[in-house]
Amino acid sequence: MAEATASLGPSASGGLYLRTRRWLTHAAIFGTLILAWEIGTRTELLDPLFYPAPSKIITSFWRIYVTQGNIWKHLYVSIGLVLAGFAAGSILGITLGSLVGLNPLVRRFIKPYVIVLEATPRIAVAPLLIAALGFGAQSKIAIIMLVCFFAPFINTLSGVVNVNEEKLELFKSLGASKMQILKKLVLPEAVPVIMAGERLALTAALSGVLVAEFIQRDQGIGALILTYTRNLNMASAFACIFTLTIIGFAIFKGMELMDRYIAFWSHEDGMTRVSQNRNVRWAKQGWAR
């Protein structure tokens, strides 16, 4: 499950000169775009009502974060919901995924439902959830949980089912119990693919919170964007959207970092680090060399 951005261009390698030149090119292109946008709105080539000038967006940033500081409480609310819904959805997904994966009988009978669930846009159920749970945090969390349940579920399921046959034979030939096979083989082997599912789930959670807040316009970043748009304060709406861009990027980087720690054996630097730690631990225990 490679990230789309990874395939957009060559990796940042090469000498200092090349790297500097590449960055300067990037900066020049970016600057030109921003400048064109600014000029476009000032000359009213672009309707300044819907496409606020970059300078206005920066002013709005300053206002909503510093002078007015009104975005913070919405940020807290939204991020809190994302984390709660993500945690609930992934715990449910991983648990159900392993239960279904480990039981061949259940797996056979649940398959049609998985296919139906996969074909249905999960977000369509959101109004029903609100009807059932009422307005408020619980229905928002339920919506987020719904949109981020599927990836961990399906990835855990496939990780648990696709256990390496030869390794399974090895464990059996060593006389391992079912529990030992689960703990020492099946679950660890599924970790990288579960982590890939978690990454998708967290990204989905961010979209989920926006949908939930678009429907219930009381608070949160989604509600704030709606309010600004309705008041035709597009510069502030853009400032909110760019805030989401930054959060999305932070989530992406954070999950990548977590993957390096949890599924360390799929990363060269992770292996080097853990290898050293284990060596040190072995030495500290005074075990044989």
Partner: protein, 264 residues
Amino acid sequence: MQRHAVRSKASPDQNAPVVSGSGVGKTFASGTVIALEDAGFSVPKGRFNSLVGPSGCGKSTLLRLISGLIEPTSGSLQVHGEEVTKPRQDVAMMFQRATLLEWRTAIENVLLPSEIGGRVTSEDRTRAMELLKLVGLGDFAFSFPAQLSGGMQQRVALARLLQTGADVLLLDEPFGALDEFTRERLNVELLRIVTEIEATTIFVTHNIAEAIFLADEVYVMTPRPGRIAKIIDVPFDRPRELSIQTSPEFNHLVEEARDILGAH
């Protein structure tokens, strides 16, 4: 008994077979595929036997039957005089791929059999470290499988095999995925090690020269249905040098095996 250094060192009951079978057969699936038919054999302590033949001759099936991973549909199969019904502590198996756990360091992989057997003791750790040194990986104890070459990974698997403490070793084309040079070197080391620990070894391969080079006795197997067509006795002393492969006697044995396999 001068021919086999190992056999002359064996215990008094050296003639009692460690692994034996009579009329062993295995039919798969709907009963249409006869993987193995009427296999009769007997392997004394410390002996090295090769099973050689093309795909479908039942050599891997026979090995898995001895390991207790699968059960025979007919006949009787015994290890240390006991009927094999499930995997045993005194029988250990090694596969074509190293099947190491990627999230464990080399030493932790070697310790896996001890962990599955119960609590890991300091003797287990000492032994695991000694075994890694024995296979030439003393400096790589804390490396992860992905940081090791294919040959090194198989050495770790070999150390793990020995860590079980089993005296019956079953090897299913253990070096088959490696390049020729690495395979030859590992074969020589394998022979030295199993000779040293007096293990009873059964080695599956589709390479005739490899089968003869390693074994005291070669079971030549033919397909459809899988069966032991001939047992060839190999009269070379252990330890062996790679150079015996150029001797006329060795080539004569290769011819003999090839004739049997070619007739099919």
